[in-house]
């Protein structure tokens, strides 16, 4: 069996002496959307920070066959591990176009113009508003801009932290549909979410995290019928 695109085994990470992630194993294969769900404080963002090499971690952490352990954060970024951060973190005083250009600022290949086209075709709204200041847009448009900016970096794996945060359900549905388009364009997605319903509606596989440990994993179709998951997260009353 070939090694998955992102291969994490027995990962332990934390802040200083405080461990947050315990013995975590996770993988993302080409062409899939993987959801990582869990409540507040489960360690979801910490996991993304460990993958992005912002905090030190012990264990196996490999991406496209390469050990990420010794890399600096920008090293992980240039290898195609691109994050859409929680709370968007746009450059508010810059236009949408400038924000997108910022995503491509480390690229030296001639495909930047094509990437603009691709982002604009995925998010027609951004094309309409490309001269507008990012800070003046609605939350949903800002999230689109943040995702577009990440796509401009030509990611090999897109990691999205709390995509649905503070957004109306209708907008979240739009964004979920775009995730499917992104997967169709050949970019796998690791979606870190509190909104289990939303995450399960598009993901192929999912991991359920509690206090730094993976407690359930598998195909979404199976997890949806797992009584423990249904009870704890999907809140379906009998």
């Amino acid at each position: 069996m070939t090694e998955p695109l992102l291969n994490i085994q027995n990962l332990t990470a934390g802040y200083g002496a405080v461990p947050v992630l315990f013995d975590l194993t996770l993988s993302v294969n080409a062409g899939e959307i993987v959801a990582m769900v869990g409540s507040n404080g489960a360690g979801k963002t910490t996991l993304l920070r460990a993958i992005s090499r912002v905090i030190p971690a012990k264990g196996t952490l490999r991406f496209m066959g390469e050990d990420l352990g010794p890399l600096p954060p920008e090293g992980a970024f240039t290898r195609g591990l691109v994050q859409v951060p929680e709370g968007r973190q746009l450059f508010h005083h810059m236009t949408v176009e400038e924000n997108l250009a910022m995503g491509a600022h480390l690229r030296r290949d001639p495909g930047v113009a094509a990437s603009f086209e691709r982002v604009y075709s995925l998010f027609p709204k951004l094309k309409e508003r490309r001269k507008q200041l990012a800070g003046n847009m609605s939350g949903g448009e800002q999230q689109m801009c943040a995702m577009g900016r990440a796509l401009m970096a030509n990611p090999k794996l897109l990691m999205i932290d709390e995509m649905s945060l503070g957004l109306a359900p209708v907008i979240v549905d739009d964004l979920l549909a775009i995730l499917v388009d992104i997967r169709a364009a050949g970019i796998p997605v690791l979606l870190v979410e509190q909104d289990v319903f939303a995450a399960f509606s598009v993901a192929d596989r999912a991991y359920v995290m509690e206090t730094g440990r993976v407690v359930r994993e598998g195909a979404v179709a199976d997890l949806k019928n797992d009584p423990a998951v249904v009870d704890a997260y999907l809140g379906v009353a009998d």
Partner: protein
């Protein structure tokens, strides 16, 4: 993006300035040397302050290191002026790296506060260094050649401005701007913020130190109080902000305008000049907080509304 005619005008102005010593009076050339050196200081402050958004009050330290590096090399070791400049630049670059690595971890006002102390510390150190003439200072060999100093200062300003022009168009500059706008977001976009900030400070220190070295040789005397003058740093900030931080020509125009205003005021009313100078700056901050460059960019559409809008937007 920069319009082509801006560049053409800039080149014409630079060439015209190069011929000033042929026609100008001694006073005018001396004023020119000071104005050009100050413009260089404002322009190099612009690299980290304007593009990176880090307000530094420690740049005058690099000026002092450049001053003393040149002076020590020329007086104690009888080295030529060029070697003296190199010594000054190396001292300043080492200083920038040593100071930048720990202090650039601080953000916003905390960074500014930390840099405030540097100047005093350096002054205390150099006041007690026998090699630097302790409190008394050093006297450099006399050279009466104002034209040479003028052309050197002009060349330095041109080199510094070309560097800033390159920054404004490079991915390096984009990274600095990203840091200014949101440092965390810049990190997510793969910008190594520490590397960018420290290299910006080192780049600024190079030009600042050369300006200090030129001034030392020109004035033939250095002492701790004049080399590590904190008001000099305040002038860099004011001139850069007045002209337009984060722009290519703003700091140069701003410092030329302010140098002229100060010179005229000083000639007319001597002691009250500083007071009026302060008044000009307050008006500038209230009415054009984004600097002269932003006013000029408005072009024909400019009216009193622009200034009123600035007041409203900044809730004054």
């Amino acid at each position: 993006m920069m319009k082509r005619w801006t560049l053409i005008v800039a080149v014409i102005v630079a060439v015209a300035l190069a011929f000033v010593p042929l026609v100008g009076s001694d006073t005018m050339i001396q004023f020119g040397i000071n104005a050009l050196l100050l413009a260089t200081l404002a322009q190099s402050w612009n690299i980290l302050g304007g593009f990176g958004g880090y307000v530094s009050f420690g740049n005058s330290v690099f000026y002092g290191l450049g001053t003393y590096g040149t002076a020590i090399a020329m007086t104690n070791y009888n080295l030529p002026f060029g070697v003296g400049l190199v010594v000054g630049v190396i001292l300043a670059m080492i200083g920038a790296a040593l100071v930048g690595l720990p202090i650039l971890r601080l953000r916003g006002p905390y960074f500014a506060i930390a840099t405030l102390g540097l100047n005093g510390a350096m002054m205390a150190i150099f006041s007690n260094l026998p090699i630097a003439g302790s409190n008394i200072g050093l006297v450099l060999p006399l050279t009466r050649n104002d034209t040479m100093f003028y052309e050197l200062a002009l060349g330095l300003l041109a080199a510094c401005t070309l560097t800033v022009l390159w920054i404004s168009r490079s991915r390096y500059g984009m990274g600095l701007i990203a840091i200014r706008e949101d440092e965390d977001a810049a990190g997510t976009m793969g910008v190594n913020a520490t590397l960018y900030k420290v290299s910006a400070l080192i780049l600024a220190s190079i030009f600042t130190a050369v300006a200090g070295g030129i001034h030392a040789y020109w004035s033939t005397f250095v002492d701790p109080a004049s080399a590590f003058d904190s008001t000099l740093n305040v002038r860099m900030v004011i001139m850069c902000v007045f002209g337009g931080p984060g722009t290519v020509f703003g700091p140069v125009i701003g410092s030329f305008v302010l140098s002229t205003v100060y010179e005229v005021l000083a000639a007319q009313i001597s002691t009250a000049a500083a007071l009026l100078f302060g008044f000009v700056i307050v008006l500038a901050v209230v009415f054009m907080p984004r600097g002269l460059a932003d006013v000029v960019k408005g072009g024909k559409g400019l009216s009193w509304r622009y200034f009123i809008r600035n007041i409203r937007e900044n809730r004054l």
